[in-house]
């Protein structure tokens, strides 16, 4: 194996890293907000709960690539979409990819957060109510913090799969890590070397993310840390 080629490849690939991080960062953050809203709606009264059930069923039952294609290639055929205010966004693969990734991760994430909501002890809610908290305040101060803390470990798996899922953006022409990797492979036909470099970058990313989540978990659970009474 020649080191110059590896280093050169690594350098080229790293130029796609910011885009990968952007796609993952925006869609994970937006997805988490949407997921929380969906989870709250899912645990609420009927029409909303049924809508979320249907949403989760469809988004989890179909492949992400198809969802990206529907948004990127499918929506543009309608005149009302092309004349709408959203068109400047929807005609760009960047926003289409982010939209699809967000909608997709929100479906998986809402189920994780729903599990967290169900794990909130009834006593904590009662205590809040007994202290005279309004519904809003109760959710903001008691329910959501407890639920999100509970859901965080499981959510880290979803975040990692989102980092991997950003690679699909390369199929709709985005030159992020995988897009650049594909370009180098089809130019040089040295698949193994490029795979090793790109793989190393992705593994580093997923490793750092899982460490960061573990750190956040420890920070959010001060009572579980060693040495606390």
């Amino acid at each position: 194996m020649d080191t110059t080629f590896l280093l050169d490849t690594l350098g080229q690939l790293l130029s796609g890293l910011p885009l990968t991080l952007e796609l993952a960062g925006i869609s994970i953050t937006a997805g988490m907000v949407l997921a929380t809203a969906l989870a709250l709606l899912r645990t609420g009264p009927r029409p909303g709960a049924w809508f979320v059930r249907g949403y989760v069923y469809v988004l989890r039952g179909t492949p992400l690539l198809l969802q990206i294609f529907l948004i990127y290639y499918g929506l543009g055929q309608f005149d009302w979409v092309r004349h709408s205010l959203l068109w400047p966004f929807l005609r760009q693969p960047y926003w289409c990819a982010i939209l699809a990734l967000t909608l997709n991760t929100a479906a998986y994430g809402s189920e994780i957060i729903r599990g967290g909501l169900q794990a909130v002890p009834a006593g904590a809610v009662e205590a809040g109510r007994a202290a005279g908290m309004s519904r809003r305040l109760l959710y903001r101060r008691i329910v959501l913090p407890l639920a999100l803390r509970q859901a965080l470990p499981a959510y880290s798996n979803e975040m990692i799969s989102m980092i991997k899922a950003t690679s699909l953006a390369s199929i709709v022409t985005m030159m992020e890590l995988s897009g650049i990797a594909y370009a180098i492979i089809s130019e040089t036909y040295r698949a193994l070397e490029v795979f090793l470099c790109a793989g190393a970058i992705y593994l580093t990313l997923t490793f750092l993310l899982s460490r960061a989540v573990a750190f956040a978990e420890a920070w959010l659970n001060p009572h579980l840390r060693a040495g606390t009474p």
Partner: protein
């Protein structure tokens, strides 16, 4: 609306037959990949549970790497790397030109290898969930290793691993769409071709949603039934009896 239905139907201008054939191809390549993944998963689980140090380390590396890298890259590796190796081999044996793997083989191996990493963990957890007493009881009854494997370990691991195995299958089914980058005409590819060559892309993608939903839902039901079968010998818990 009606025009879309004609387009997706089985008439002379309809794409129905092609879509059906592509659905069959998706099922075929997914099942082949699942079988490959099952073989790798069984090997990996064995290595992690009972293997010597090198085997254990190898399995550890396998699951860590394959679960941390996008499937698309693994498909590229098999697609381009496979032809790299085959062409080199072909030339070594005096052949000329280009040798490559077809899309089906690439997809089966790539998606299979990735799913094998997940399957390893599913099967390993399934084995660990089997109560040790059952294995001891089998040993006490004088069962040989193979008989014990067949009569006790295999059905019991299956019982605990089936829910996870169902998840891996759903994942394989959805990830089989990525095989479309090799040019294999499975469902995703066929839908994309249809969308590109008619003026009703949206209808094709929507139809794709319906077909993939049907595939994941129906196969989910099959796994659910299989799960029910695998626990039929167990005492009913109060909760299940009430349901």
């Amino acid at each position: 609306m009606l025009a879309s239905l004609t387009l997706l139907g089985f008439g002379p201008t309809g794409w129905g037959l092609q879509l059906l054939r592509a659905t069959a191809m998706t099922l075929a390549v997914s099942m082949a990949a699942y079988a490959v993944g099952m073989a790798f998963g069984a090997l990996g689980a064995w290595a992690k549970l009972a293997g010597r140090r090198p085997a254990r380390l190898l399995a550890e590396a396998y699951t860590t790497i394959l679960r941390g890298i996008p499937d698309l890259l693994v498909i590229y590796l098999f697609y381009f790397g496979g032809s790299q190796v085959l062409t080199a081999l072909g030339h070594a044996f005096g052949g000329e030109g280009f040798f490559g793997l077809n899309g089906f083989t690439v997809g089966m191996l790539a998606v299979g290898t990735v799913s094998g990493a997940y399957q390893t963990e599913v099967l390993r957890a399934g084995y660990l969930a089997v109560p040790k007493g059952e294995i001891e009881a089998a040993r006490m009854a004088g069962m040989g290793r193979l008989l014990m494997l067949r009569r006790i370990i295999f059905p019991r691991v299956l019982r605990f691993a089936l829910p996870g195995m169902g998840n891996v299958w759903q994942q394989v089914l959805k990830e089989s769409t990525l095989i479309s980058v090799t040019g294999l005409v499975e469902l995703m590819r066929q839908i994309h071709i249809g969308a590109g060559s008619t003026h009703d892309a949206f209808a094709f993608y929507l139809c794709g949603f319906a077909l993939y939903l049907a595939l994941t839902t129906l196969s989910g039901l099959v796994f659910r039934a299989w799960e029910g079968w695998s626990i039929k010998g167990e005492p009913r818990v109060a909760g299940r009896m009430a349901a």
